[in-house]
């Protein structure tokens, strides 16, 4: 018998490995020192523990310990990498290339940089209009005055904007249907203003693993920095900063059986890569990230990284087999299934399937003893289905029908078998009550119907 509820949402987070907890425990109580205290044993102990963890995290990605900056999580790491590069290299250029399927921590950071640039341009336009008209201009009239005074052809404004060093311009690449980045498209998007390419190692929804070695080589060749959000891939698939020629790498402890609220950013030293710090203060982490170090969290992240490295080969074989078992079990007993994203370039523990004619949230409700997640709009506050699936060109209705299964260290065959049975029952039940399934079975083309959308 399996124990309920079953956790199959390892991309959302992972439980702390008991071995990690054990490593962390002393640093909450007996060894509580501040790693920055240089003059007593409490500080020395904490510092030694932090430096050991730094080596462990560095080893996981083939880096040197001096290249690891500890942060509060990968959200912060992504912010620091992108904003830090844009601000530090602003005299070199202001163009970033990323992908529409990136995590929000990357996309929303890019959006803010775009907005900052746009706001500054609007200010320059107002200033120029005041010069041209000789009077005060109300910002609300910008749109109409801009046309009237033909600002888009104004050489003075163009000179100002060319000199602008605020925020960034961003290109969002659309991935291919299988979720992978088109390298030719990436290369074509690079301009002499491009300073950074940010492409994730593995996607959190569809598990697709990007060709980072090729991307890194391309960036190196073109003299552009390469950042990769490796949160979902590090410790799950082989990855090292030399093979990937990565300049900046974001990591998160809680996706690899470490504690939440703990992350790291790898910042290359040879050749030296710089980021402008986003948090000012005591100058910790070589000035790149001030704030008293979370010693217990760092120790946990180090221990988690070491375990992930030791177990990677065996664990990825085990998870691949479990994933195959899950997919074979489902596809043998259900029709109208589609896997979202490449099946070959994929995280071992990920399966993302659309169960046509059954809606994702209803499916999750029907298998309530199993924790999975869905790309259905109904599971988000926005009422929009998954932007990742939409970027792949997946139909909205198929995005609504998607379920993400995330397998991990504590998943078992028995759990997989239980989930297959439960899913088959749930999908069958929901399809039996789905007008779309009935129509499809009758041979009606659902696309031919004029739906009364509400």
């Amino acid at each position: 018998m399996v124990k309920l509820p079953i956790y199959m949402d390892y991309h959302a987070t992972t439980p702390l490995d008991p071995r990690v907890l054990e490593a962390m425990q002393p640093y909450f109580t007996d060894d509580f020192g501040n790693a920055a205290s240089r003059n007593h044993v409490f500080g020395w102990k904490a510092e030694a523990a932090v430096e050991k963890a730094r080596k462990q995290v560095a080893a996981l990605i083939g880096a040197s310990d001096k290249e690891i900056v500890f942060t509060s999580g990968a959200t912060e790491s992504n912010n620091l990498a992108i904003k830090g590069v844009v601000e530090f290299y602003k005299d070199k250029g202001d163009h970033i290339i990323t992908v529409a399927t990136e995590h929000k921590a990357v996309l929303d950071t890019c959006k803010r940089l775009e907005r900052q640039r746009q706001e500054r341009i609007d200010e320059l336009k107002l200033q120029r209009l005041m010069e041209l008209t000789g009077e005060d201009v109300n910002p609300e009239d910008l749109a109409s005055l801009e046309i009237k005074h033909q600002l888009d052809a104004d050489p003075v404004l163009k000179r100002w904007v060319d000199k602008l060093r605020v925020g960034a311009r961003v290109t969002y690449l659309t991935p291919k249907k299988d979720g992978l980045v088109d390298l030719a498209e990436l290369e074509a998007a690079i301009t002499d203003q491009t300073i950074l390419v940010s492409v994730m190692l593995a996607n959190n929804e569809i598990g697709v693993v990007q060709p980072v070695a090729e991307i890194g080589a391309l960036c190196r060749k073109r003299g552009v920095l390469f950042h990769t959000d490796a949160v979902q891939g590090a410790g799950k698939v082989p990855f090292d900063v030399e093979t990937a020629k990565a300049d900046l790498v974001s990591l998160s402890a809680h996706k690899m059986y470490g504690p939440k609220g703990m992350g790291a950013l790898y910042v290359r030293r040879k050749p030296r890569v710089r980021v402008l710090q986003q948090i000012d203060g005591g100058g910790h982490e070589r000035g790149m990230r001030s704030g008293t170090l979370n010693v217990a969290g760092i120790v946990g992240m180090g221990a988690a990284a070491e375990l992930a490295q030791q177990e990677l080969v065996a664990e990825s074989a085990r998870l691949t087999a479990l994933r195959e078992r899950l997919w074979k079990g489902l596809s043998a007993r259900l029709d109208y299934l589609t896997v979202n994203g490449s099946m070959s370039a994929r995280l071992p523990g990920n399966l993302n399937v659309s169960f046509a004619f059954a809606e994702g949230e209803a499916l999750m409700m029907a298998i309530k003893d199993v924790a999975v997640s869905s790309g259905s709009a109904c599971t988000s506050a926005s009422l929009e289905p998954s932007y990742v699936l939409r970027a792949l060109g997946v139909d909205e209705e198929m995005a609504h029908s998607s379920i993400r299964f995330g397998l991990g260290r504590f998943s078992t065959e028995a759990e997989v078998d239980y989930v297959i049975d439960l899913m088959v029952r749930a999908v069958t039940k929901l399809r039996d009550m789905s007008p779309l399934y009935e129509m499809a079975k009758e041979g009606i083309d659902l696309k031919s119907i004029e739906w009364k959308a509400h």
Partner: protein
């Protein structure tokens, strides 16, 4: 987000799931929503010549709240006159099921489905008599 007990009850033990013969002159069919929006509701009502709803069946593609709303209205409309059924509002449905604000559209869809089914029946009857 937790579901209300009534939503869970109607979802797990949905009432009146099924299909009526859409060619039966006494059956009105309402099909509302769109697959791209994540919910499609089909409500069928069997209406006597006296205008009383004798039977109701639904099939719904949608989230738990959409399925629960459909199931609930099949129970509510049975035995009602067409005019009374037309008076059922989405507010009543949402209240009965304690739907949160993001799920109000499910109750709107259920109200629309009742109206669409009755209109279909009326159109059929008019065509027959006309």
């Amino acid at each position: 987000m937790a579901y209300s007990d009534k939503v869970i009850e109607h979802f797990e033990h949905s009432k009146n799931v099924g299909t009526l013969d859409k060619n039966d002159p006494n059956v009105g069919t309402g099909l509302v929503g769109a697959p791209a929006c994540g919910d499609v509701m089909r409500l069928q009502l069997k209406i006597s010549d006296e205008g009383v709803i004798e039977d109701a069946r639904f099939k719904t593609f949608g989230c738990g709240s959409a399925i629960a709303s459909s199931s609930l209205v099949t129970e509510w409309v049975k035995g009602k006159s067409m005019d009374d059924a037309m008076k059922i509002t989405n507010k009543e449905i949402a209240k009965e099921l304690s739907l949160p604000p993001v799920k109000i559209h499910c109750s709107v869809l259920a109200e629309d489905a009742i109206k669409a089914a009755i209109e279909d029946f009326r159109a059929k009857r008019a065509a027959r008599q006309g």
